[in-house]
Each structure stands twice: as structure tokens, then as C-alpha cells.
Point group: C2
Chain length 328, copies 2
């Protein structure tokens, strides 16, 4: 297919169009992913996460520079958790990255979906495949916000970077959301601010209690001074780049990389089962009017959700050779 | 069943044990929920959400007081998003609520799950059913953190309260996560702090652009002064209580309550389908070793996740009378 060929050749317009199809959840997108899949698995995927306002985009911009200096191609995916209700968020702060627009070895795209946050989680995996098939050697995935999104990125990335800022009071929040445990590299941005020492101590303490053995890698903590002095900022970003390299070497030398790839594949298969089985089933129930009548009996408390779900299982599954919970 | 009878009679030990079963994801819990379901749908469910440290627990404690003053029974569910990786978070700040421990009309329980955040989302619905079947007239559900959790609470609650604090820089974050759109009542806590006026203006501006018509209810903004003066704090909490009453009256008078109940039932059925069909299917694939061999072919790029998922659909579904996407 011409479209597939173009994406593989790195054509920006085709890739961009394809990501748009993924965002819109078009069934055609799935067919394209099937064709692209054999050509994926080559890129190194780096997740960059943290609360809004910590300076992720600035660091991503700096990392693009570091990567390009080494002559490697780079893809950037800025994941934008569009509000699940209004469906209208716009990503504004990509302007800084504009300076890379003329570089054919840099592809930057933001990713948003209308509809559920779950939809976005699925779209991320497919969009990464596109950048991977384009031949980008390193893919930076920037995720905004905190919560499930950040935990999901661990399922896609080889290396996860968590950006924090001193004195923002977001430390506890981050811990709560389970992000601390998935980060391979901690970056304290704006480290000339008050509270850096305390933040560093907090992270270290956290790591001591919670961190499981991760292929022998002990998460590193890097500080970046504020952008007010570009030269100082650059030194900080370069250090982050070296840490990424270190982590990757560690993944390879301990063979822990296979663990990560297995997790990634498992996550993707899980998402595909949901897309190919669970969602069509729901759509069928809705379009046939069955869902509406189920709603009625539920509203009248004539039956309960679990009993209904078990009936659905009986009606649509061939044999229940996998056990379904029965009444006691 | 004696256990069911005890829960319905409001027995604290049985209810607590049942919530423990839900937390552990025991199949017995599902059977109990089936029996309790006909006796649910009577309680009014109030969600209280916001970032960590904004004072949600203190407000919940105040609301318990306001509700008890009116002679109504109250259940409190403090949802604790246990880290999906370490599985060990502990909710510490329930101490304040201890003063209600002697009151048989107050039932307070925190809810955590080992395993995925998705598991927690499902547990919340079932745990609410338990408190509802116990006969608690008002159920306060406090959710910690930001993200999917807060959006989910809208699927359970009649009224959603969002607690914010001036100058914490969490406004943008909250907007990003789509929480602004689901809140019926905004509470600015610690409103004697600097930045309250700005925060109020920000909320108002946000509401003007994003808020869809919600049964004629325009979200209210209530300010609570810091707890340093308990009498002043109490006045603020009472005002929040009146706002909850106003919102409920509005739901009833516009019949918008049916809309909310329908959404709640739909969400619950969806979760039950996942629990009764999707999860057993995955478990079967894993225990039979099929999942492992699928992983192998994926790792070797011999096939793609979507093709595998479509094969699973063909193998396990009776007829594909609901269409499954095919190749182009």
C-alpha cells in the first residue's frame, strides 16, 4: 500500500494523517497498524512525565537537541489528555519546539482523543508504532497530568523520566499515583529554587522503601537549573541524556530489556482484545437496543449488573470453557 | 443469608468484612453484591474530590457533623489509590474523623486495592452498594489524587464537590484532568489565603467556556476560611451542606436525577461485563499457556496484536453477529 510505504519512508504528511486517524478511532487505522507492526520494535522509547508546569516541554526540546547532536533521528509524541467531557483541550506550549520544524530527522506531533481517557491510552501505543515504523531511532513521549496516564507510559517506554519541581507540593501526589515506582530517572527541574534539597531527600527516602529490584538499576536523580541561563540549562539536559544512555546500557547488559518488551507486548495484546472483542460487543448491545432494556430492568432493581453480565457471557460465548463465576 | 441480613441491619463488622472482600477481589464478594443490589439505590451519594492536601478529610468531617445534626445516617468511603506497583499505601489522615467512632449512625471505611487502579474503580461501586444496603441515607465518597479516579466518581455520585486551595498551582492540572466539568459544587478551602480572588475568577471563566447545560444547575462556588477558627470553618461547611441540598432539589425538580441514575447503571453494567467476560477470558488465556505463546509470536513480530485479538474473537464467540473489524 502506498500509504504504508510513505509512512515507512518517514513522510511527515502521511504519518500525521495516520495519527489523526488513530485519534479519531477510525477502523482503517487498525488495518494500517497491522501492516506497520512488523516494522516496529526498533526505536528506543523514552517516557517523560510529571505534573503540568514542571517544564517537561522545555526538557524535551533540550533532549531533541542532545539527540540530534549525535546524529540520531527523533520522534516526539506529546500526549494531551483531552477533557473526557468537553472534548476540547488544546495543547499550546509546543511553540518552543518549533525551531526543529525544518529538520527532516525530527517529527513532533501532539496526540489527543475525543472521548474517554481510556481511548487515549490505546491511541498512545498505536501512535508510537507509527513513529517507530517511520524509522525514528529515539521516540520521546511526553505525558501531561498525573494519574493513570503516567503509569501507562511504563508499559510503552524503555526508560521513564519523572520531572519534578521543588516546592510545588506535588511530591505526595506523585507518590500516591504510583509514579515514583515506575521512574528510572528523576529530574529535579528549576533546581536553583528553594526546596531542592528537601525534594531530593524525599525521593531518596521514597526509593529506599518502595523500589523493587529493577534489573540492578537504581534510579538516578538529576538536577537542572532554571532556564534563565541557557548554557547551564543545557548542561543539565545533557546530563539527563547521559543518564538515559546509562539506563539503556544497563537494560541491555542485564537482559532486563526483554522483561520490558514482554510487558509492552502484553499490554498491547490486552488493549487489542479490548478493541476487537469488548468494544464491538458493547456496540452490538447498544445498537440492538439490548443495552437499553437492560438499563430499564436495572433501574427497576429487577436484576443486578453481575447477573446481566453473566447472561451476556452465556449468549455470546461459544463454550464457557473458561469458568465464569456462578452464584453461591 | 445471615451475612446479607447483618449488612442490611447496618452491622459494622459484617460491612467492614464485606468491603475487605471487595478489596481483595474475592469472587464471593460478587455473590453478596447480587443479593444486596435490590436493597440499593436509596442513598444519596456525594463525591468529594481534589488534590492531596486541600483539606478534603476536614471538610468530610465537618459534613458528617452537618448531616448528623439533621438526624440522618451517614456512610463515608475514603478511596485510597494504592500504588499499583508497591501495593502498600496507607491512609493516615482519618484520625480527625475518630470523634464519630462511637456514633452507630456513622460508618467510616477507607478503600484500597492491591493491583491496578482499574480494580479500585470497580471496587468503589461495589463498596458504595454495601453502604447503601446498610441503610446509610447519605454516603460521602472522598477520592484522593487527581485523574481518572475523579472522573469516575461522577459515574457514582448524585453530587460532585471539588475542593481547591488558592495558590497551589493545581488549577490548570485540575482543568486538564477534566474534573472542572464534572463538579457541581466548587469549594475554595483556606480561602483566607492569598490568591482566592484569582482562583474564583479562574473557575468562573472556566465554567463560562466549558460548562454544558446540566439540568439547569449552574455550579456554585463556596469559600471556606481556614480551620484556625473552628466557628468560621463550621459556617463554611454548613454552607457547603446547603449547596448539596440545593443541588439535590434541583436534580429532583428537573428530573435530571434520572439522567444521573442511568449513567450510574450504565457504568456499573460496563464494569460487570468486564469482570464477568473480559477478565475470565484473559485468565483462561494465561492459565492455558495460550497467552505465553502469543507473547512469543509477538516478540518475533510474526503477527500483530490486532490479528491475535481477532483470532481470539473467532475462537471464543458463538457467532460474530456483532461485526469485528476485518483486514482492508
Amino acid at each position: 500500500m502506498e500509504f504504508i510505504r510513505k509512512i515507512r519512508a518517514g513522510d511527515v504528511r502521511s504519518a500525521s494523517q495516520m495519527i489523526g486517524m488513530i485519534e479519531d478511532g477510525l477502523p482503517e487505522a487498525r488495518a494500517v497498524i497491522k501492516c506497520l507492526f512488523p516494522f516496529t520494535g526498533r526505536a528506543r522509547i523514552i517516557g517523560i512525565t510529571g505534573s503540568p508546569g514542571v517544564g517537561k516541554s522545555t526538557i524535551v526540546d533540550g533532549l531533541i537537541e542532545s539527540i540530534r547532536k549525535r546524529g540520531k533521528s527523533v520522534g516526539v509524541l506529546a500526549v494531551d489528555p483531552t477533557s473526557p467531557f468537553s472534548g476540547g483541550a488544546i495543547l499550546g506550549d509546543r511553540i518552543r519546539m518549533q525551531r526543529h520544524v525544518g529538520d527532516p530527522e525530527v517529527f513532533i506531533r501532539s496526540l489527543a482523543t475525543r472521548g474517554s481517557l481510556g481511548g487515549l491510552a490505546k491511541a498512545v501505543g498505536d501512535a508510537i508504532h507509527v513513529l517507530d515504523a517511520m524509522g525514528k531511532e529515539i521516540i520521546l513521549v511526553e505525558t501531561v497530568g498525573t494519574g493513570q496516564q503516567e503509569v501507562d507510559i511504563a508499559n510503552h517506554a524503555h526508560t521513564v523520566i519523572l520531572v519534578l519541581v521543588p516546592g510545588m507540593g506535588d511530591e505526595i501526589q506523585t507518590i500516591k499515583a504510583g509514579i515514583m515506582e515506575i521512574a528510572d530517572i528523576f529530574v529535579i527541574n528549576k533546581a536553583d529554587r528553594e526546596g531542592t534539597r528537601k525534594l531530593k531527600m524525599d525521593i531518596t527516602a521514597m526509593l529506599e522503601v518502595s523500589r523493587a529490584c529493577n534489573g540492578g538499576w537504581y534510579p538516578s536523580i538529576t538536577q537542572i537549573e532554571s532556564i534563565s541561563d541557557p548554557a547551564v540549562f543545557e548542561i543539565g539536559v545533557e546530563e539527563v541524556f547521559f543518564k538515559i544512555e546509562d539506563h539503556y546500557k544497563q537494560l541491555l547488559s542485564t537482559n532486563f530489556i526483554n522483561e520490558r518488551l514482554r510487558r509492552k507486548n502484553m499490554y498491547e495484546l490486552n488493549a487489542a482484545i479490548s478493541a476487537c472483542i469488548f468494544e464491538p460487543l458493547l456496540e452490538h448491545l447498544i445498537s440492538s437496543g439490548k443495552f437499553a432494556s437492560m438499563m430499564e430492568v436495572l433501574m427497576r432493581r429487577e436484576t443486578d449488573p453481575y447477573t446481566l453480565a453473566e447472561e451476556i457471557a452465556k449468549n455470546y460465548f461459544k463454550t464457557c470453557n473458561f469458568s465464569i463465576e456462578s452464584d453461591t
